[in-house]
């Protein structure tokens, strides 16, 4: 790794903290981002010559702030009427700067920066794009590639999202405990969305989108450092790490999905699993269960099973039951049904999913799972019909190909049955 690569790494690592603090000073996202960019350019010049600063984030905040203040002053000299409110804000900020740079005040800054990305007016994809752009500092080109849209279109989307946020007003007051907890919940959900965007990637742009999962884990670790004693944040980080650990085994050489049961478990990332299990252990000590912890516990049972047949499906069934109570959703029930099929058989599992048809009729996995249960029960014509529905709803070629394998098997089975009957 070259010196430049190290500087890149240090700038990226300091970004959330630095942009968040600059946002507090300037109360404007674009100004904060420009100030950070400015500071980065200066770092590229200064750091190789002078050596790296002891605290890169503090250096970037100071330099970024001064650069932006210079800009405002220059601009104000050219304008007959200075933007009075902005200037007085800056003086307040300057007075508070030294005291604030000790690092202990960053928590609410970074939380605010993340929180404005999950404004309820923004659709999920815009929340994700905004967080990746502003907090993670991914280039618009990379985000566009991950979402399979053109760069100009993504640029426009991000600009529009920023406009909406500016109009909605950013909450700059220090949050109270209840508000802080609410913000943390919204931010955790957004981080989970970022992860899912990467995790559910198949087909085109898999590599681009898979890197979103890495970004999400980075954000989860950031949250964990800010809120080290929140069991749900430990659960979220554990969940992401345990899911992500399976990534090396989730696709075959041709890019086809490899199901959990068929994955080569020696390819799972043991270090990520160790970290995930450690975080889950920490969370459980608090005895304050929540949806992320329960989902992490389910992922942990898969991670702990050396072979697919060692999986503790009964325990997974119970955990999904807990999740249903904490967070009722037909998708959770569908997942529970898979566990039920494993340890109580496909008939009970089918009975569990049949009532979900109304709400999950447009859901690929519902028809895929239902078809699999019907197939196991020997109800081939119904299974074939369910698989047909699934293929029609498949979101990617890999998903469709996976269902087609089932259909081929049904085809082969029935050919065999006809052969045997003769």
């Amino acid at each position: 790794m070259t010196d430049l690569a190290w500087i890149d790494g240090a700038l990226a690592a300091a970004r959330p903290q630095a942009v968040a603090a600059l946002l507090r000073y300037f109360r404007d996202l674009d100004t904060a981002e420009e100030a950070f960019q400015d500071a980065c350019l200066r770092a590229l010049k200064a750091w190789p010559a002078n050596g790296p600063p002891r605290d890169p984030a503090a250096w970037l905040i100071m330099v970024g702030r001064n650069a932006a203040i210079d800009q405002v002053r220059r601009a104000s000299r050219q304008q007959p009427l200075p933007p009075e409110d902005l200037l007085s804000d800056l003086e307040d900020a300057e007075a508070a700067a030294a005291e604030r740079l000790d690092g202990s005040h960053y928590r609410d800054d970074v939380l605010r920066l993340l929180f404005i990305c999950c404004h309820p007016d923004l659709p999920a994809t815009q929340q994700i794009a905004l967080a990746l752009r502003i907090v993670s500092g991914l280039s618009v080109r990379r985000i566009a590639a991950a979402f399979l849209v053109g760069e100009a279109a993504m640029e426009q989307r991000i600009t529009r999202a920023k406009g909406r946020i500016a109009k909605a007003g950013v909450p700059f007051d220090a949050p109270g405990p209840v508000e802080r907890a609410e913000r943390l919940g919204a931010v955790a959900a957004m981080v989970y969305l970022v992860f899912n965007e990467g995790y559910s990637a198949t087909g085109e742009a898999v590599a681009e989108r898979a890197s979103l999962a890495d970004e999400a884990i980075r954000l989860a670790r950031l949250l964990l450092r800010l809120f080290p004693a929140e069991p749900e944040i430990m659960g979220l980080a554990a969940l992401l790490l345990l899911q992500h650990a399976r990534t090396p085994a989730r696709f075959d050489a041709a890019g086809e999905i490899v199901l959990l049961e068929e994955q080569d478990r020696s390819r799972w990332d043991r270090k990520a699993i160790a970290e995930g299990l450690a975080l889950l252990d920490k969370a459980l000590r608090h005895a304050r269960p929540g949806p992320y912890q329960v989902q992490a516990a389910i992922a942990a049972l898969h991670a702990r099973a050396g072979r697919a047949e060692d999986t503790d499906w009964r325990q997974i069934d119970l955990l999904y039951g807990t999740l249903e109570r904490l967070q009722p959703s037909p998708v959770v029930t569908l997942n529970r049904a898979v566990a039920v099929a494993k340890h109580r058989g496909p008939a009970e599992a089918l009975a569990l999913v049949e009532p979900l048809g109304g709400r999950l009729d447009g859901y690929f996995h519902f028809h895929g799972v239902r078809g699999a249960f019907l197939m196991q029960l020997g109800r081939a014509p119904e299974a074939r019909e369910a698989f047909g529905r699934a293929i029609a709803l498949a979101g990617s070629a890999a998903e469709a190909a996976h269902i087609r394998q089932h259909l081929d098997r049904l085809q082969a089975d029935s050919a065999e049955a006809i052969g045997a009957a003769r």
């Binding site: 790794m1 070259t2 010196d3 690569a5 190290w6 790494g9 240090a10 990226a12 690592a13 300091a14 790296p52 002891r54 605290d55 890169p56 690092g103 890495d214 980075r218 670790r221 964990l224 450092r225 080290p228 004693a229 430990m234 980080a237 270090k271 160790a274 970290e275 450690a278 975080l279 920490k282 000590r285």
Partner: protein, 123 residues
Amino acid sequence: MLYAILCYDNEDVVCSWTREEDEAVMAKLAVVQDRLRQEGRLGPVARLLPTTAATTVRKGTEPLVLDGPFAETKEQLLGFYIVECETLDDAVATAKDLAKASSSKGSYELRPVGFYQPEGRGA
């Protein structure tokens, strides 16, 4: 003299290495470790998980269990080596060899070992 070579670095930076970058650094470190091993000087080697996975137990009449690392610092203890070094100069030279594996800006703290008990699990 046995030395503990304690590796400190900014884990934000180290955790943001890509898998390839991380593997490249580990491969370079393995070369130095192999040499030390051949010379019969290498004891246990450990790489620690991020401090977010850490728990702290603070001693007292009623010991306190806290989430997170012992101290909030810019650089974190990320791992350590136990190496036999004849002199401090040898220890410094070994740390310098290890330092070449990556261009990150962390530090190695060289701590002479006072009590050493390698038996037990994995020894």
